[in-house]
Amino acid sequence: MLLQVVCLFIPLIAAIFMPFLFKKIRNIHTGWFVLFVPLFLAIYYATFVPSISKGETAVVQFDWIPSLGISFVSYIDGLSLLFSLLISGIGALVVLYSIFYLNRKKEQLHNFYIYLLIFMSAMLGVVQSDNMITLYLFWELTSISSFLLIGYWYNRDKSRFGALKSMMITVAGGMMMLGGFVLLSLMGGTFSIRSIIEQAPLFATNDTFVIALVLILLGAFTKSAQFPFYIWLPDAMEAPTPVSAYLHSATMVKAGIYLVARFTPVFALSEVWIWLVAGIGLLTLFWGSFFAVKQTDLKGILAFSTVSQLGLIMSLLGVGAIAYHVNDAADTVFKYASFAAIFHLINHATFKGSLFMIAGIVDHETGTRDIRKLGGLMSIMPVSFTVALIGSFSMAGLPPFNGFLSKEMFLTAMLSVTEFDLFNFSTWAPLFPIIAWVASVFTFVYSFYFVFKTFTGKLQENELPTKPHEAPIGMLISPVILASLVVTIFFIPNLVTDTFVKPAVMAIQPFLYSSPEDVHIHVSAWHGFSPELWMTLGIIVVGLLLFVTLSKWQKYYNTLPEQFTLNRLYDFTVNELLGSWMTRFSGLYMTGSIRNYLGYMFTAIPIIVIATLFIKNAFVVSFEGASPIHLYQIILIFVLVIGTITTVYARSRITSIIALGAVGYTVSLFFVIFNAPDLALTQLVIETISVALFLLAFYHLPKFQKVEERTRFKFGRVFISVGVGVMVTLVALSAHSQKLVTSIAEYYKETVYSLAGGGNIVNVILVDYRGFDTLFEIAVLAIAGIAIYGMIKLRMSRKEKNHESK
């Protein structure tokens, strides 16, 4: 039974063989080999249908990192089975379509199919993972493979831009989601979503509950292109059309929907969840439908329509969460919302997939996707026209297509919101059906706009890059299958809902239903003169009026939304804020001047140290234990101070060097009077050598610019240097005033002869008690010597080489 987990990785394993197949078998399109993978998966997942539709679940676990509780869990219930079937089924159709869409000789097919197979694996992993960490893993894999697929034609600027944009937005959301997952797992003590759902009622009082909620929603909203994160989706249309059909309409963008549906049992108790999901969904629905009419690119229209439809599903899920707050939810109308969401999800996958494929066919056969150049293709491409008509009418919500059914249920759900009176819903609820209705009118308009502007009207043959003709039969298979599904679902809705939707609804609302039979919803095309039906009639009438008068108001409308694009905000953020502003900001402090960096360091260190000293009350001065001061010490300090001041204020560099030497010798005198003969010896020699080295450096200064001038007075630098001096003084005083432990020197004194056999305590410490330090100081000296030698020698040799080459 491990097969269930292995199945997640079958596309990944198949991806390994793609380059071989592409390179070795040149005369067969690589896609034919790929086709077996989704077909096999679709058949395999279809075998689950009978048991899952009875409400059973199938779980197989494969431990990955058991010590951290991370494992690959394939958990198949109604929701994940539905998604898995969508992924593998539409995947098969898309692969079939791509075989005819992508040219065997001109395209890098192995790349394409590798990315597509990675994506397939990732998506199956997302919907079946029960472990939140592996869910996140697969989630990011979908982002990465989507990035690769959007940038498939990587020599185009727009492809790269679109790929980068989608990557930035979805990965940002993914990171947020990971944060939400971590918070949830901290609350529940497990990564398993099932056990999180079981404990969910306990979380509502937790402080981080709302944070986890918002973070997970951010992940879902970015992935599912909700407002305001939808902006990557229209730019992702630069991908090859099979990719747009697969990723950006049927599967990946629904990962966010899946996430919201999956976590509804956890978060539905919170009003924040209901408001955010329903509100943002509704806003996205309206926004997407409003902007779709503005587009002139076929795929642009479909992208905005996808955004809008995803908003619709999202708002339904939000309203569906209300069912947790009403008594006897199974008997109220709120039960419709989740049901309608899942039902529309299936419907959307079918009709939007077919519409994308039609857009690809039109592009392929006419050479353009610009709706202003297209028209009159009805008689040339009759099959494509029929499919487009079915898809668009379904999208618009017209009978006899499946979109009608889910649209009606959507309106039912939206109307039901007005009956809900918790969480301030009584104030705002009337807006829900109104916005939904207006958005539906726009949906109607752009659906008609899409199909009739492309296929009816006058044929502008001289505008088109190639002579239009009907697509090859192989390219039409997939859209025709999808379109026939659109019609079939309308006529047998209850078979579909009983098999797929009810188990999925049970997964979303596990507390309400114990088996799929408990979901008492019967879908019927005709359900009497209900308010929904009148609303649909109103949509058709107003939509038709708007569509007929489109040319009159489109110019006003086109000027209107220009101010409201979020793309401008994105471009501003990426180019200006992150690009040039950040560069300018780092330019402000990364000046390249060591003087400035030293300034930062020496400002920061005294501030931190002095602040710590006073915050911790560590500053104590006591002269207890201080030795008496002698006259000669005062004189020596006087000499030292004069030497130091001379070094700083000297007019010429040589004076500074000599004064520095004087300071060094005075220090050696201090060593003498503090009874350190070894130190004094070393200090004297080293000082002499370093003064000589300074003189060497001084002598080799370049002749020009060798202006001998006094160091300029700058207040800031004086302030910093005084600060450093004060810091060191304060630290030294307090350190001296509070000695916590006694010195260990007594031990050395007692044992220097008896244990080490030496008389000179300093030398015995250096080579016996602590010989290791000495060893590495020798190493330091060796390194310095070799480095100096290398520096001089290598420079010379290069100079010689240059000389020879001349």
Partner: protein, 93 residues
């Protein structure tokens, strides 16, 4: 005796200050070099007096070292002032 040594220390310290004045002021590098050389000698004296004062023989090495360093330093400085170079390159290479 102790007072004598103390007086000597003070006198030598004062002469060091005077020499230091020359190091700081000295109009030419040669003045400074000679002042430094003398400073080295006064240091030797100071160390010697201090050795007597603390009754130890450990500092006698310092006296020798100071004498050598002072000599080498002065020679180096002189050669630098004379030829502008301290260690001349071997011409045969």
């Amino acid at each position: 005796m102790i007072y004598f040594i103390w007086t000597a220390i003070v006198i030598i310290a004062l002469s060091m200050v005077a020499l230091l004045y020359r190091v700081v002021k000295g109009p030419t590098p040669s003045d400074r070099v000679i002042a430094l050389d003398s400073l080295g000698i006064t240091l030797i004296c100071l160390v010697a007096l201090f050795t007597i004062l603390v009754e130890t023989s450990f500092f006698l090495e310092i006296i020798l070292l100071l004498a050598i360093l002072s000599f080498i330093g002065t020679i180096a400085f002189s050669k630098f002032i004379e030829k502008g170079d301290i260690i001349t390159r071997d011409d045969s290479r």
